[in-house]
């Protein structure tokens, strides 16, 4: 189905999220949509799927102008969207998620739905337990559930908003195979992403957006440097980072073991020195999160000890770790890091050092303005956390970090960030090494791990199965270890 967007405008108050966008997607093509954080990609896709209604503009499908007043209209027209954060109902089981909202009489035939669900899953090689509640699925499985559902509803245009953040490499290659197969069947796919390799691998055409406008279109293949130039107006060069001398051990774990689940089998010992960066690799949920939680005092180990800057903090709680200048940035930005409904100013007040009873709002506002400026957050000090685009939420989290830290622990520090922002974020993080901060971060992005770590620990089903010198290893070696194979047996 061929699709044309004509002069779409969508404003949120003063923010022109979409400022006159025109875009054509040919039938059976995989069309990439690139653009920096806050460019308006999600907004445009939500307009196209009827989730938001545009202020003005027209959507033309197979030569006919269609009305998109609600998602109902979009579904009827064959447009389905997979949202950046899959919109599933976590407490409901897979089949209920599958049928919820599907057309039909009031009779609910779960058996028949389960059968059709199983058939579709078979066809695309997905393996999802239909009786499991959605909250027990991984993000990748929730996506698969949504894709299958959209196909079942008869989608002929499929929109995927950053589908590759938060899923494993296996799930990603499966996804790509599926998308390519769908395109050959005539499906038009719009693929929103920040990862140029993915777009290069998958898409036949790309459109680049900046600040609510289309700034370029190209037939693939296009060299990545050119795409970057279209997005940011200039080449983003990844600077060589200056080496920093490592000081005394800031974080010292000895013989750590947990009571059950992750990290329960073998004791873990580790020393991270001041100014050192340690990357944690592994499939999601292989023990990295348990490890970070122990380092941050959010969880106590069953045995072993934790020392921060020479002080024993074993058995102490998160507050004590905070007082020892340990900070943990979890992956779930809106769930764990930011508070929905509160403005940027209010976030700074909550995170600030001021412990007085009264808040000096004038001062707080000034400080927030300064930080918004310094961290180039797209928004104002009065924007609420949930109104920021994903990338800008991450900037806000970084802006809220206290100036002095002994240990900084992070999960996916640049997930969802555009290349320029990711680079900028790392520049800020690495600068902290100069004052002796140790950084430990988990990431699914192997390039990121290789580029910024001094050492890489690879996790596999709750154990550390490899410790690598980042300078002496490569993507292939880490990839094998992540899959649970040691290098020798992998080669054999």
């Amino acid at each position: 189905m061929s699709l044309e967007l004509r002069d779409i405008h969508k404003h949120y108050g003063p923010v022109r999220a979409n400022d006159g966008i025109s875009l054509t997607v040919a039938e059976g093509t995989l069309h990439g949509l690139l653009g920096e954080n806050g460019a308006g990609k999600s907004t445009l896709m939500k307009v196209l799927s009827g989730f938001h209604s545009a202020d003005s503009g027209e959507v033309v499908l197979d030569g006919k102008s269609i009305k998109l007043a609600s998602p109902d209209d979009a579904i009827a027209a064959g447009i389905g969207m997979l949202h950046q954060d899959p919109l599933v109902f976590l407490p409901f089981n897979v089949i209920d998620n599958f049928v919820l909202g599907s057309p039909g009489g009031s009779r609910l035939d779960r058996k028949k739905a389960a059968q059709e669900f199983a058939e579709l899953c078979d066809r695309y090689g997905f393996n999802i337990d239909p009786a499991s509640p959605a909250r027990l699925l991984t993000v990748g499985e929730r996506q698969q559930l949504e894709i299958v559902r959209l196909l079942w509803l008869g989608a002929r245009v499929l929109i995927l908003d950053e589908p590759t953040t938060g899923i494993s490499a296996d799930q990603r290659s499966k996804l790509f195979v599926t998308l390519k197969a769908l395109a050959t069947e005539g499906m038009s796919v719009i693929f929103v992403s920040h990862k140029l390799e993915e777009v290069a691998d998958l898409c036949e055409r790309v459109t680049v957006m900046t600040r609510g406008k289309v700034v370029g279109e190209a037939e693939m293949p296009v060299p990545p440097e050119q795409l970057v130039k279209m997005m940011f107006g200039q080449a983003v060069e990844v600077k060589d980072r200056p080496a920093v001398d490592h000081g005394a051990a800031q974080l010292k774990l000895s013989d750590i073991r947990t009571a059950s689940g992750m990290l329960s089998e073998e004791p873990v010992s580790l020393e991270v020195r001041a100014g050192e960066v340690v990357g944690l690799a592994g499939m999601e949920g292989s023990g990295q999160d348990a490890f970070l939680r122990i380092c941050s005092g959010m969880r106590n180990p069953r045995s072993g000890s934790v020392q921060i800057a020479g002080t024993d903090l074993t058995g102490k709680n998160y507050r004590d770790f905070l007082a020892a200048d340990v900070k943990y940035l979890p992956a779930g930005r809106l769930e764990e890091g930011l508070i929905e409904g509160l403005t940027i100013t209010e976030h700074f007040v909550l995170a600030g050092e001021d412990r007085g009873f009264f808040v000096d709002w004038g001062k707080a506002k000034k400080r927030a303005e300064a930080q918004v400026d310094h961290f180039t957050i797209k928004g104002t000090e009065a924007s609420t956390a949930e109104s920021l685009s994903g990338g800008n939420q991450q900037r806000l989290l970084l802006a809220m970090l206290p100036p002095r830290l002994n240990v900084l622990l992070m999960e996916h520090p640049t997930r969802g960030l555009d290349i320029e922002s990711a680079d900028w974020v790392w520049e800020q993080l690495l600068a902290r090494r100069e004052v002796g901060t140790s950084i430990v971060f988990a990431s699914a992005d192997l390039d990121e791990l290789l580029r910024y770590s001094d050492r890489i620990l690879v996790f596999f089903s709750g154990r550390i199965i490899g410790e690598l010198d980042a300078k002496a290893t490569n993507v292939d070696e880490i990839g094998l270890l992540i899959g649970g194979r040691s290098v020798d047996s992998g080669a054999a």
Partner: protein
């Protein structure tokens, strides 16, 4: 001690159990109504007031027309009106559900006291008894379930229909979706706010019928604030019921049983029996603690049906607004 045991023994009399069922109709209707409303994400906090005003409306309509069956629709209409005020205030005027519900409660209570003052002590027609032929002669079950009146039967049917509708139909699934994650429901083309109006209104109608069941059946007649505090009990039972109609119905019967027990104890332990009616509240908290016990939950993950009854998760989006932009 022996008095206590006698009172306990009397609880298992067929007659006592039948009277508990007969007396539960008002609370059953209102509890189902509130459950439906909250499942869709709207807390109707006005129950204690709107149920009373509806009880008055039902009483007055039946009293003046001499027809008890006119009383129930009249009461339902008042319940719907109150519910729509909550929904409209929240959806259209962005008011907080709890705030508007509470104000409405106070208003309705005062209104029913004022408007009903002339009716105190008057007797209207009551719902006539009607034994279901054949079924009522079954031993034990006959007197307990099938020897009441239409309103009592209807309250039982309402419980079953509510359960069936919420968990067994497509529309019921959409209803749950709206209260669980409105953005996700919206993305599936479900008209979130329309459904919230609809189910708050249906819930309000049931709350109204529940009020009339008190004045036209359970405790026929009008006195000063005859349903006082029963609305708050409804709200508590909905939580105790974990937003599940069957468990909530069980909560209503448990509450009725504790009341009957208190009545039985009255002659022997006059002071203790005053405390008894409040036992449902600590009992409720205890039940919530048990049901959220992690080991139990892990075990329950293997039995989804049992879990859905025992686990008490409030609908995630309860009390919040949803706006399409």
């Amino acid at each position: 001690m022996s008095g206590f045991l006698t009172a306990l023994g009397e609880m298992f009399d067929t007659a006592t159990i039948a009277s508990i069922v007969a007396g539960a109709s008002g609370l059953l209707f209102a509890t189902m109504g509130e459950t439906i409303s909250e499942k869709a994400g709207v807390i109707n906090l006005s129950v204690d007031g709107s149920m009373m005003l509806a009880a008055l409306a039902g009483f007055v309509a039946a009293f003046h027309t001499g027809n008890v069956w006119i009383g129930f629709p009249a009461a339902a209409a008042v319940g719907v009106a109150a519910a729509l005020v909550v929904a409209f205030g929240n959806i259209k005027l962005s008011l907080n559900q709890v705030a508007i519900g509470f104000v409405l409660f106070a208003l309705c209570t005062a209104l029913s006291r004022f408007l009903g003052s002339g009716y105190v002590g008057r007797q209207p027609v009551a719902v006539p008894a009607w034994d279901i032929p054949a079924l009522s002669s079954i031993p034990f079950f006959g007197p307990v379930l099938f020897s009441h009146n239409l309103i009592v039967y209807l309250s039982m049917v309402t419980v079953l229909v509510t359960y069936w509708f919420i968990y067994r139909t497509r529309a019921g699934l959409a209803l749950q979706g709206v209260g669980e994650r409105p953005e996700a429901a919206h993305s599936r083309g479900i008209p979130v706010n329309k459904l919230r109006y609809l189910y708050t209104a249906i819930g309000g109608a049931l709350i109204g019928v529940g009020g009339a069941a008190f004045t036209l059946d359970v405790k026929v007649g009008w006195s000063d604030r005859p349903t006082l505090n029963f609305g708050w009990i409804v709200l508590a039972i909905v939580i105790f019921g974990g937003w599940h109609p069957l468990r909530a119905a069980f909560g209503v019967l448990l509450f009725g049983a504790l009341q009957a027990f208190a009545l039985n104890l009255q002659p022997e332990f006059p002071t203790f029996s005053q405390v008894l009616p409040s036992i449902p509240f600590p009992a409720m908290i205890l039940a919530l603690v048990v049901v959220n016990w992690k080991t139990l939950l892990d075990w329950l993950d293997r039995y989804p049906w049992l879990r859905s009854i025992l686990r008490s998760d409030p609908p995630t989006a309860i009390g919040t607004r949803f706006e399409v932009s």
